[in-house]
Symmetry: C2
Subunit: 293 residues, 2 copies
Amino acid sequence: MQLIDGNKTAQIIKDEIKAEVSAFVQEGKRAPHLVAILVGEDGASQTYVSHKMKACEYVGFRSTNLTFPASTSEEDILVAVHNCNNDPNIDGLIVQLPLPKHVDYMKVIMSILPEKDVDGFHPSNVGKMVMGLPTLLPATPYGVLELLKRYNIPTSGKTCLILGRSLIVGTPMSIMMGRVGVDATPIMAYRHTNQDDMKKFLAMADILIVAIGVPGFIKGEDLKEGVVVIDVGTTRVADASKKTGFSLKGDVDFDSASQKASFITPVPGGVGPMTVTMLLKNTLEAYKNANIF
Amino acid sequence: MQLIDGNKTAQIIKDEIKAEVSAFVQEGKRAPHLVAILVGEDGASQTYVSHKMKACEYVGFRSTNLTFPASTSEEDILVAVHNCNNDPNIDGLIVQLPLPKHVDYMKVIMSILPEKDVDGFHPSNVGKMVMGLPTLLPATPYGVLELLKRYNIPTSGKTCLILGRSLIVGTPMSIMMGRVGVDATPIMAYRHTNQDDMKKFLAMADILIVAIGVPGFIKGEDLKEGVVVIDVGTTRVADASKKTGFSLKGDVDFDSASQKASFITPVPGGVGPMTVTMLLKNTLEAYKNANIF
């Protein structure tokens, strides 16, 4: 069994990005610039945005955090997006979700210029992903693909079970696994799936990607010998032994699954660190697309 | 075994559309208007377009066939699309594929205004389909869903095997089967799929949708008792007994598959007639979206 080290891989990619940015800046070009729009005082959202800003700093990006009070009107958020769309000094724009309930988040997402939508959530980018056209891919499934690639894990002809069908992970992941060049056979299963069939899928999967948010849901005894296990789940579970009072748990029971797996991601330190890194990669991509070199 | 009669279902839907159009026209509104752009003298393409125009006539749509010589430049085709986009008297626009080789067909598709893209091929519409947002769905998979619905075939929790991953059928079909409200478990298999796993998928599938273009590829002995079989394949096979010199064959060996199936589509007369009908439905939808009533 080989551990897929997301921290190490993310670090390598960040250093690649850093080197590229540094070369651009030495040529006299401005640095890539990512803007995050944050509405309200949700603690988790603040933490996520601050991680993203810190990662920007590391690779030499300029970053701006536009924070608005929770009471901000939808109209005012749309104006802020519009201004970012029109600012040639901004390459990437993300709106941290969730937004307050009085705001139609889909309307906000759809107002972002697709070329600056570095989260890859805009329908136009989602459609291009389906069609195999160059686009900005959603960060988490993009990170999973990158891990498979950097660990030289073959995907062509492999049966790939994706658990969960969220718009952020499961759905785009199952689309990406079936695209030309990846060529795996995707099965997208979720809570509606027939339970007998689910057992068979688990026993057949060469690659298993789990994103359901149920700690320890997948046990090793259900898996195929040699399976590649990618655990996207990260749930906070109370843990008195930690200073924070909680620890992060994946959807996979690591101890039993690692007995069967040829490769496995830990939680934390697997997929997690890749997400912010792929957001940086998308921002660099948007920057390069916008600037004719 | 119950036969899924695509001709009959298509007729019912066309009559529904006809009644709606007639009501609009009686209110003094103009009829919906579909434009088809056809480039070159490909016989099959001419036949398809003429079928579409005839169907428009039946339901009371206005239709226009813009035919260009095969030598027409990409620029001139883009101008034609642009003019249709800007014409408020045109609701739906389709560009018959294939286009001549000197034309970048993806560029042409992407130049169609998404609101008039009644083939549902534009990335923005494809993305909305993925995200479950209201949009114009690609006609063939939309027709399959409509057949399942009109025959009261349950989909929630059913294991659905889709064979083929084309952008016109297999890929959107597998996305649509996994969406909220349909709630099936999609497996998208194709020529890269592991053959042992393929056998297991065939034996597990509650719903089988085949779009690979290999006549008689699927045999009844491989299928689950009670499976719902949807055959999208239509290949011309030489047949001296026919006036035309050919007959249409599906991807499913009908005689053996119908022994196992609870429902099955014939070829011809199954999915085929639904495709043009759903194109009409999309055109009516585009018309209704464009006109504020």
